[in-house]
Symmetry: C2
Subunit: 375 residues, 2 copies
């Protein structure tokens, strides 16, 4: 009976699967004032003044009403942008939500086929390491099976022949998640190579293009060509809208319809929809910002390289850089003491590196100054 229950008894109420989970740790959102925040790949430039004006103008009595449950206007605008139909688009509460929906739509739960059982590809989510650190968390939450396959040592992607030789890659995996350009590596992958990988896969492939606006090429054509390929995009990074949580999938209408069935019916908040719509009406503003960020990336890469860092070539709004002299974790701390917040991951493939978001030129200069001091 409830009366006799104590805190210890609560474990009985919670699924074993959930009880055993470790929660995802997002990048720090610091409360200390004056920190230069180069840790979570936010755009250093604010949203377009037109976007801010559109959102402000919408803050009125309409907040009492439900938002459009299918983000109808936003999907129409996105369809126009990507030259497809609204039925090819699913909008989510950030791209994190659409990624989570993908695991739950395409991947069977493996709870009952624990250790020792023969692996069933229908329960497998596969991805390269390193890539977006949320993927294994999503797989664990869903109770599916992880197949984490290393990228090449220089963070380029193994080609299909190499994956076949390696025998670890699962060409029948229910879901394959590819961060392209890669995070935290920063490398871009050629559309031709991604196309070959997609063609070789029998399950669903998600090309997670969170950072693609900072790259030379994108692979949207693959989502519109292949019935088993989805491209994930977000308004968070390139479009300075982290705060309002808007991301989306583009892909075949059958996949989109399936994802839509398990979506919360009002998953995208109203002001987020309005902000995203206004963003699409002012892309010119954002493209000017991408250009500045790419220029700053070039400058920062050169400066840090001069100072002894090994900087990987980046197609994103961050760089992955191996610092000289001290371990990366020591650098993390030393930079923080100088009010510069960057990101370090404990995963073995990247533990020697710092991931540094490209900020404004002023922020990049402050980073280089701090590095000089530490050296």
């Amino acid at each position: 009976m409830a009366k006799s229950r104590n805190s210890k008894g609560s474990a009985r109420l919670i699924r074993r699967l959930v009880h055993d989970l470790h929660a995802y740790v997002p990048g720090e959102q610091p409360k200390i004032k004056g920190l230069i925040k180069l840790n979570t790949n936010e755009n250093p430039y604010p949203p377009s003044p037109k976007v801010l004006a559109a959102v402000r103008a919408a803050v009125d009595g309409r907040l009492r009403l439900y938002p459009n449950p299918t983000a109808e206007k936003l999907r129409a605008k996105l369809a126009k942008l990507h030259r497809c139909q609204p039925e090819n688009i699913l909008v989510g509460n950030g791209s994190d939500e659409v990624l989570a929906l993908a695991t739950r739509t395409f991947v069977e739960v493996a709870e009952n086929t624990k250790r020792g059982a023969r692996r069933d590809s229908r329960t497998v989510v596969q991805y390269f390491t390193p890539s977006y650190s949320l993927y294994p968390v999503l797989v664990d939450i869903h109770g599916a099976v992880k197949n984490a396959v290393p990228l090449n040592a220089d963070f380029t992607m193994p080609d299909v022949a190499a994956l076949k030789r390696g025998k670890v890659w699962d060409f029948n995996a229910a879901l394959t998640l590819v961060t392209t350009p890669n995070a935290p590596g920063g490398r871009g992958y050629a559309t031709a190579q991604l196309d070959k990988l997609c063609r070789a896969q029998n399950g669903v492939v998600v090309l997670d293009e969170a950072y693609v606006d900072f790259a030379d090429a994108h692979a949207m054509a693959l989502a519109l060509k292949h019935p088993h390929v989805l491209v994930a995009r977000t308004f968070s990074k390139a479009y300075s809208l982290c705060f309002q949580r808007v991301g989306y999938f583009v892909g075949h209408r059958d996949l989109i319809a399936a994802l839509d069935k398990i979506r919360d019916s009002y998953n995208v908040n109203g002001l987020g929809q309005i902000a995203a719509e206004a963003t699409l009406d002012d892309l010119k503003y954002y493209r000017a910002g991408f250009k500045k960020i790419v220029e700053t990336r070039t400058w920062l890469t050169r400066e840090l390289t001069r100072l002894g860092f090994r900087v990987l070539p980046s197609q994103t709004n961050f760089i992955l850089a191996k610092p000289p002299l001290h371990p990366a974790k020591t650098w993390l701390q030393a930079l923080r003491e100088r009010k510069l917040l960057v990101r370090w991951f404990s995963a073995p493939e990247v533990t020697a590196y710092l991931r540094i978001t490209i900020g404004t030129p002023t922020e990049a200069k402050a980073l280089v100054e701090a590095v000089r001091e530490i050296l």
Copy 2:
């Protein structure tokens, strides 16, 4: 190979569970201007001017940053309001999200124990009918087992003795969802009766208090007393914030910690957090609105009763009313022709009724006028 796939082939890519789902149909958000919208239980009064000012003031460069991932300030304010700790509170993207999280945290998936297999209470979500029509949808999405048990004919709740006699209620169900006050019935349930039900349950009980601000009593004490009881609340209805999607659970810290593990890390948008925080600073404004709505409810109940409707006693911001002469569906259409949008459900227990949101006095008068015309 991908090349040979066609639209028909996509079924293979989608879980059978999802493929077989029917999507939840939310209440219509009409595009026609001039309709009086009494169909989705929104508050007819706008958010407090202070809330609107706070949200407007926050629409600036900070939109580029991630929101607080744990809704820290909002949880602190809610904890103060409910006299508990922030660890007792989980904030979600509307209360729909926290309800979905509950199914996934507390209920085992039953996919592998289909028809014919002995029922395992760990896979069971149970609720009364009628109640919130989203519940069966959430159960189906999760692949769990529904145990839908009828309320009494007058929509009062069967007591524990009656549930025991009935033999259909499952006292070991992993999750029990109770809409209190009931929707779409409108009835309130005494805390003493809810307490007895909670004490008799061995699984988690969610008291879904979406409409409780329009009722004479609430059962928050039960969530703070029992380690297996959660109370769900929302800022949508009473606090005029449907647009911004903020709902929450209050309960034992172990249950909250488990739910937190499977939550998207940035599930609550930033402007929604700010709006909800400002709301809690101006509760007086909202309480004045609740009083007006309760007065209008009393007036509308009396008027419709005079006109031959059978109106159930309501503790919410809507009434369930059985119209005279014509079937409810005919009334739905006739009212719509007169620009009044109400809600009708096809579920057999309520198919004879209309659910009518309590609007402003002017809206209620317009409804009564339209009813007179139709009669």
